[in-house]
């Protein structure tokens, strides 16, 4: 018995030594754990680099290499092409809804294991994207609004309704997004003039919305793909009205530029970004830690304060004051884009849209 106990101790000792030896490289590896995270380039990325990523690295020991990504769908094409070649230009990316859904169609996103996302209970259900079979494709990162923006020098009074886009007094004064799938102007038309986005259920309804939207054309000076182009023109008053992101406009106003963002009475357009993991990525474990970290109410509150985005977690779980919450959101029911259309009818919509604005 004595002998056997010694044996056991020795064995244990040897086992420990062996285990620690095996663990050594793991310890070394933990220090250079890293994750490539794609976020929208420019102001968004700068803000994440300054306010979010350093804290994350401090808390988890995972270094973040942030990648500036272009507008949702352009980045989707790059991720898709790269994944076909087994490459991941970024492990985790922030993807807008239309891009999320298109990526889901090709199984581009590695399913997220929700058991590893302890903070998931805070999330609002509508910000969790699921594959048809229930696997989770992406977890809500932030949500944002596209609103009616104006230059305060040119428009002393803030407009109150999206109908301002149709007002003949605004001829050649508008800047609108150039793509059907990121401007969501069909939804705006349906909500403003056709009683709601259900009007887009049928092709006749959509064609009617296109017809109504065509009346806006004489007012549009710029159909922009590049946000910087419109932002600059809005600040200078060159193009004094248009649709733009509530968060960025708020920041520009805080910097002293003569711009304002208004939630029209029909509601702002609400879109959201998900964290999604490319199937070519080998950093699944780090990615889960990152996504879990980002779901904390405290982090979501920081994002609202610093980036101006709206939280994807329940409002009660955050410590945002009424004033802070009002700055990034609104009580007016938002216009929720008809994402289903951009999947089932994307080519038809794109063709009609291009003919509308180019023709």
């Amino acid at each position: 018995m004595n002998i056997s106990s010694i044996k056991r101790r020795t064995l244990l000792g040897a086992g420990l030594a062996g285990a620690s030896m095996l663990a050594m490289p793991a310890v070394l590896r933990a220090q250079d754990k890293s994750l490539k995270v794609g976020v929208y380039g420019g102001y968004f990325k700068d803000s994440f680099d300054k306010n979010i990523f350093p804290e994350f690295t401090k808390a988890t020991g995972i270094a973040v290499e942030s990648i500036a990504e272009p507008t949702g769908e352009a980045w989707l094409v790059q991720l898709e092409q790269a994944a076909r070649a087994g490459q991941a230009p970024a492990d985790v990316s922030m993807m807008s809804q239309v891009a999320m859904l298109k990526g889901q169609a090709t199984e581009l996103w590695t399913p997220i294991d929700m058991a590893k996302i302890k903070n998931a209970s805070n999330l609002l259900d509508r910000f969790v994207n699921k594959y048809p079979d229930g696997r989770v494709a992406g977890v809500g990162a932030v949500s944002w609004y596209i609103t009616l923006v104006t230059n305060t020098n040119v428009y002393k009074e803030a407009p109150t309704s999206w109908t301002a886009l149709w007002d003949p007094a605004n001829a050649d004064k508008l800047g609108l997004l150039a793509l059907v799938s990121n401007s969501f102007l069909l939804e705006v038309t349906a909500k403003t003039h056709m009683g709601g986005t259900n009007a887009l259920d049928t092709e006749e309804g959509i064609l009617k919305a296109f017809e109504k939207l065509a009346e806006v054309k004489p007012n549009v000076r710029l159909w922009y793909r590049d946000e910087a182009q419109f932002e600059q023109a809005l600040k200078s008053g060159e193009i004094p009205m248009g649709q733009y992101y509530h968060d960025v406009t708020g920041l520009a106003a805080a910097d002293g530029h003569p711009v304002r963002s208004t939630f029209p009475k029909e509601g702002g357009i609400q879109d959201s970004g998900c964290w999604a993991l490319s199937r070519a990525s080998e950093k699944s474990e780090e990615a889960h830690i990152f996504i879990d970290y980002m779901c904390q109410p405290a982090i979501q509150a920081t994002l609202s304060r610093k980036v101006g985005t709206s939280p994807t977690v329940k409002r009660e779980s955050t410590d945002l004051t009424d004033k802070e919450f009002a700055a990034v959101s609104s009580d007016i029911e938002p216009i929720v884009p008809r994402y289903d259309l951009y999947q089932t009818k994307s080519d038809w919509l794109n063709q009609k849209w291009t003919e509308l604005i180019v023709g």
Binding site: E73, K102, D226, E238, V358, G359
Partner: protein, 284 residues
């Protein structure tokens, strides 16, 4: 030194490197593009390898025909403007002192270092209502009120001519430098005015160079996709803009590839026509 045609296989060896580069960086990607143009588009997704004509079929419509027509017209306009401006400019430049020539050429070359984005934003500022050149005219009392000159066709044309002008000068320069000055001297001695000498002697002597330059600028302008977006209205968007839209924003690679293949074919056809017409003109 006499030039001899290559005799053995070894004489061709210097060609191997450029040939390999051309194959790797041009033939292979172009072949891939042709292949993709026949692939099956999956709406809301990506594409799957197949052999279908859908993508070409979609392109064959009055709408895309109109856009293609506009793109070609725009490229021709840019080519003509560039040559009309650059020919007299380069001719006068070659008559100047060496030092003056160098200053001009360095200035022109420096334009080439500017990206299309910078050129586009610079011109859109110059043409703007709030900070543009019309403000100077107002200050001088030549205009009542500052106004925006962009977006417009003229703005796109200006931007594209500005971008292509240095290339035009650089292509014309060697030919004009080599031009025998005694030709114009003879014309002048026979009583032609400098202007007449330029048009009746210099221009015809440079016919082939001028045609080659026109073709080069035309092809260069056809590929432009940023300036039409930055300086023009949607009706001034070229086919290249729509190709970019399909490839980058709609993730519709097959359709983008089909449009690109079509554009290349039309371009090659036009260039071939120009060359054939040029040959006929020579023999006549």
């Amino acid at each position: 030194m006499r030039r001899e045609p290559p005799q053995t296989l070894g004489d061709y060896s210097p060609l191997l490197f450029p040939a390999a580069m051309l194959t790797i960086f041009f033939v292979v990607p172009f072949g891939t593009m042709i292949a993709v143009s026949f692939f099956q588009r999956e709406q809301g997704g990506f594409y799957t390898p197949a052999f279908v004509f859908d993508n070409y079929q979609r392109f064959l419509s009055a709408f895309f025909g109109g856009v293609l027509g506009f793109s070609l017209m725009m490229a021709i306009a840019v080519a003509v403007c560039c040559v009309v401006l650059a020919l007299p400019f380069t001719y006068l430049l070659t008559r100047m002192a060496r030092r003056v020539q160098i200053v001009w050429l360095v200035a022109l070359l420096s334009i080439l270092s500017l990206s299309e984005v910078i050129i586009g934003f610079a011109w859109s500022t110059l043409f703007s209502r709030t900070a543009g050149i019309t403000n100077i005219l107002v200050a001088l009392g030549l205009m009542g009120e500052a106004k925006a000159l962009t977006p417009s066709f003229a703005a796109v044309l200006t931007g594209m001519v500005y971008q292509a002008f240095p290339y035009t000068v650089l292509v014309l320069f060697p030919a004009l430098v080599r031009l025998d000055p005694t030709l114009t001297e003879a014309a002048r001695t026979l009583g032609a005015s400098p202007l007449k000498a330029f048009f009746t002697v210099v221009v015809p002597a440079l016919r082939n160079t001028i045609v080659a330059t026109l073709i080069m600028v035309f092809i260069f302008a056809l590929g432009s996709y940023l300036l039409p977006q930055l300086l023009g209205r949607p009706q001034h968007w070229t086919l290249s803009v729509l190709i970019t839209d399909q490839a980058i924003y709609q993730s519709n690679m097959p359709f983008a590839a089909a449009m690109a293949v079509f554009l290349v074919l039309v371009t090659l056809g036009l260039v071939a026509l120009t060359v054939i017409a040029g040959r006929k003109g020579e023999t006549a």
